[in-house]
């Protein structure tokens, strides 16, 4: 058991640090402090991604021949740590590179791979994942978007929801229903699509947090070629599971304030009987948050250790989001309550430091749902880690068209 870098790891970290010292500073000098979700922010992100790709620091674990870094999972983690320390890190590419492009690589022909992988690694093209639908949240396979074969093409009609970044993405992977006469998991087929096609319409969703990062996406007679199919007809669920498996690796850490930030706030804020940091009930919560955050960090290290020993990481990474999303919600709420009446205020112009907690308070409910609700993640742990029986599924043997929908 060793918490320190090995000789090779230390050498890699040194190299990454030196590279970042030079390039990150230059990048920041050019782009400064940009507001997220603006065209300038996106342009900066694309430039940074391309810079990393040229140096082998984008998709570090992928082969160099397809634009990756040809490195190890540990190297990827090390670079990520150093990049965060250097104050850089854009979220636009996470879903595409973490989930969509690996699916395209696993299920498409050589020509398609050649066309798409390298531009995605360089950040020239951004991908989104079109799975969720109004009728199928946690029950992904209950989706209704239809794809009907017409000669060498498919015609797609329907609606997706909660698609992150659909409004700025170039391509997407789309799960459709191609056979409603068989049970729900058996009649699905996956395609890649061009998000700029006029038959695709994105409508941003105004979230309770005030943001608009997600979209509803409508398809009206969208025509795709059969060569855009990923996997066999009717095998879409199998393909989707590969995507979702990668999701667990890609969606790990949580954004937002942690125990350090709330500790800083508590040091500065007056409580009823002195500084809030001296309040005994707050101190106990703080200790719990520290233990959970560090526990999660070390759990990720254990996963990395498994990877570096050539083992596959287990579904234990499912614990990450359960802990971090709940903690973010509780921590933000404690901070807001600690501010007393001032906690009502959510104006970044007046209270920039405090507003971060208000923002997290409104964002946390979404984090507890996105990428699997707490309940679904607990089911995953119970069934795939502990080997307990699956839930009773009354629709298992029912043709999709005969499934009760309640409307």
């Amino acid at each position: 058991m060793d918490f320190n870098d090995s000789t090779e790891e230390a050498a890699y970290r040194e190299k990454a640090r030196a590279w970042l010292a030079e390039n990150a500073a230059a990048h920041r000098a050019k782009w400064g402090e940009l507001k997220p979700n603006t065209p300038e922010h996106m342009a900066a992100a694309k430039e940074w991604q391309a810079t990393k790709a040229s140096a082998g620091y984008a998709c570090i674990t992928w082969p160099a021949a397809i634009g990756g870094g040809g490195g190890t999972p540990i190297q990827s983690v090390i670079f990520g740590q150093e990049e965060t320390k250097a104050g850089l890190g854009y979220g636009y590419f996470t879903i595409g590179l973490g989930m969509c492009v690996p699916t395209v690589m696993a299920f498409s022909d050589g020509e398609t791979k050649k066309r798409f992988v390298s531009p995605a690694v360089r950040g020239d093209e951004i991908w989104c994942q079109l799975f969720s639908e109004p009728a199928g949240g946690s029950d992904v396979a209950a989706l209704r978007t239809r794809a009907v074969k017409d000669g060498d093409e498919w015609v797609i009609n329907g609606q997706k929801v909660w698609t992150t970044g659909a409004h700025y993405c170039d391509y997407g992977i789309l799960l459709t229903r191609t056979d409603p006469d068989v049970p729900k998991h058996k009649g699905l087929t996956m395609f890649w699509i061009d998000m700029k096609d006029p038959a695709v319409e994105c409508r941003p969703i105004h979230q309770m947090s005030g943001g608009r990062e997600f979209n509803e996406v409508y398809f009206t007679d969208l025509r795709v070629k059969d060569s855009q199919r990923l996997g066999e007809v009717g095998d879409g669920w199998k393909v989707a599971l590969v995507t979702l498996m990668n999701e667990r690796l890609a969606v790990g850490g949580s954004a937002g304030p942690n125990y350090r930030e709330i500790m800083k706030l508590a040091r500065e804020l007056a409580g009823a009987t002195g500084p809030s940091l001296k309040d005994q009930s707050f101190r106990e919560k703080l200790a719990d948050w520290y233990v959970q955050s560090e526990g999660l960090k070390f759990t990720r290290f254990r996963t990395m250790t498994a990877l570096s020993r050539g083992q596959t990481p287990g579904p234990e990474s499912s614990i990450g989001k359960i802990i971090s999303a709940n903690q973010l919600q509780e921590l933000a709420n404690t901070a807001v309550e600690m501010e007393d009446q001032y906690g009502i205020l959510s104006d970044p112009e007046v209270a920039p430091a405090e507003a971060a907690f208000q923002q997290s308070l409104m964002w946390a409910p979404g984090l507890r749902i996105a990428g699997g609700t707490d309940e679904i993640l607990k089911n995953i742990i119970a069934e795939r880690v502990l080997g307990l029986p699956g839930d009773v599924r009354v629709d298992k043997d029912v043709a999709f068209k005969d499934m009760p929908t309640g409307r």
Binding site: M1, D2, F3, N4, D5, S6, E9, I74, M263, K264, R267, L277, Q280, R283, E284, L286, A287, D288, Y290, V291, Q292, E294, G295, L296, K297, F298, T299, F301, R302, M304, T305, A306, S308, R309, E316, I319, I322, I323, E375, L377, K378, N379, I381, A382, E383, V385, L386, G387, L388, P389, G390, D391, V392
Partner: protein
């Protein structure tokens, strides 16, 4: 970075599990539980000594195996799993580890070989009644090398040969080594929440006492001893918590209600998933503690506190929910759930309650941030 047991350590852990399966089944545990005159299993103690576990991390020059602390952690995890009824923690984590960290050369040379050989049982005597003992309340005193005062409760104090005792000398706190078989010591066995671990009241009346560590540094030395013990205890707690999850799972998979196994109901599945999450958080924090202990890292106080808090929470949750999953069966004397419930409480309190460790953790974080 390498965050798991090595292959050799895993092998040692498997061997330990096999040995305990053969020599510490639940009959052995119940043999102590059901007999008020016994607070540990002498045969198991002898076997454990023969395996070399008592001296696992004691240097070879003092009769031990000279292994690292991670190896000791692996053994601790298995002892916790088996709820082994022996004074291992008091003797190894506290007395041996304490002497190795703070003892004089003479103290090490005279006591460590006897620990490794299984000839000596140790204990730590700090508590003097309900609540946390602090500089303002410490009553036991050493005068001219003679200790007087009362310690209650002392875990394993009913069977121990040697005690580490917190007492003040000329108004300054110190930690003292006392021979419990010598003059000026009388003790009384008391009932324990976990009868597989003994507990006593010890009255000192002019007992010869020899200081361990610097004069006046009693609380710092005790805290240093507890930091080390906390990491090892965390592994015992983790082993116990994992076993509770297994027991709950085995039971839920075999028990039918309303026409199907209860393991298929989401309320039970989610309960077991919650146990798993807490156990994994505890495991990860314990591994960090093991690294800090083994490397003598300056992060030890924080790592030890985090390991102890996480492990105490995990074992408490797993032990109480294990009973709940078992239903009425779980509340009977005959089913083993209560062995773990008792042990979880014993282990959470023996080196200071989680509340105390939470305060210590936050104080350390404050220091870190002020620096």
């Amino acid at each position: 970075m390498d965050f798991d047991y090595s292959d050799d350590q895993k092998f040692l852990k498997e061997e330990a599990r096999k040995f305990l399966a053969a020599h510490c089944d639940v009959g052995v545990v119940r043999g102590v539980l059901d007999n008020a005159d016994r607070s540990f299993d002498e045969k198991l103690w002898k076997g454990v000594a023969e395996q070399g576990w008592l001296g696992a991390s004691i240097p070879e020059e003092h009769g031990g195996l000279g292994l690292g602390r991670v190896e000791l952690c692996a053994i601790a995890e298995e002892l916790g799993r088996a709820v082994a009824p022996i004074p291992f923690a008091s003797t190894v984590y506290v007395l041996a580890e304490g002497l190795m960290a703070y003892g004089s050369d003479a103290q090490k040379a005279s006591i460590l070989p006897r620990i490794a050989a299984g000839e000596v049982i140790g204990c730590l005597a700090t508590s003097e009644g309900p609540g946390v003992v602090g500089p303002a309340t410490l009553q036991c005193r050493v005068d001219g090398g003679k200790l007087s005062g009362t310690k209650i409760p002392v875990t394993d104090g009913d069977v121990a040969d040697i005690a580490l005792v917190l007492a003040s000398e000329s108004g300054r706190p110190g930690l003292f080594l006392v021979d419990l078989k010598g003059a000026g010591v009388s003790r009384e066995t008391l009932k324990s929440l976990d009868p597989t671990r003994g507990v006593a009241k010890i009255v000192f009346d002019g007992a010869p006492a020899e200081r361990v560590g610097d004069a006046g540094a009693g609380f710092e030395v005790v805290q240093g001893v507890l930091d080390r013990a906390a990491v090892l205890l965390a592994f015992e707690q983790l082993g116990g918590a994992d076993r509770c999850l297994e027991m709950a799972k085995e039971y839920a998979l075999g028990r039918y209600a309303f026409g199907r196994v209860i393991a298929g109901y989401q309320a039970i599945k989610h309960k077991l998933a919650d146990m798993y999450v807490k156990n994994e958080v505890a495991r990860s924090n314990a591994y960090y503690g093991a690294w800090a202990l083994n490397d003598g890292a300056q992060e030890l106080p924080v790592a030890a506190a985090a390991a102890r808090i996480a492990a105490s929470e995990a074992f408490w949750f797993a032990s109480k929910e294990n009973i709940q999953v078992h239903g009425g069966m779980g509340f009977t004397w005959d089913v083993d759930c209560h062995l773990y419930y008792r042990r979880s409480r014993q282990l959470s309190l023996v080196a200071g309650a989680p509340k105390v460790w939470k305060e210590r953790l936050v104080s350390e974080l404050e220091k870190k941030n002020a620096a």
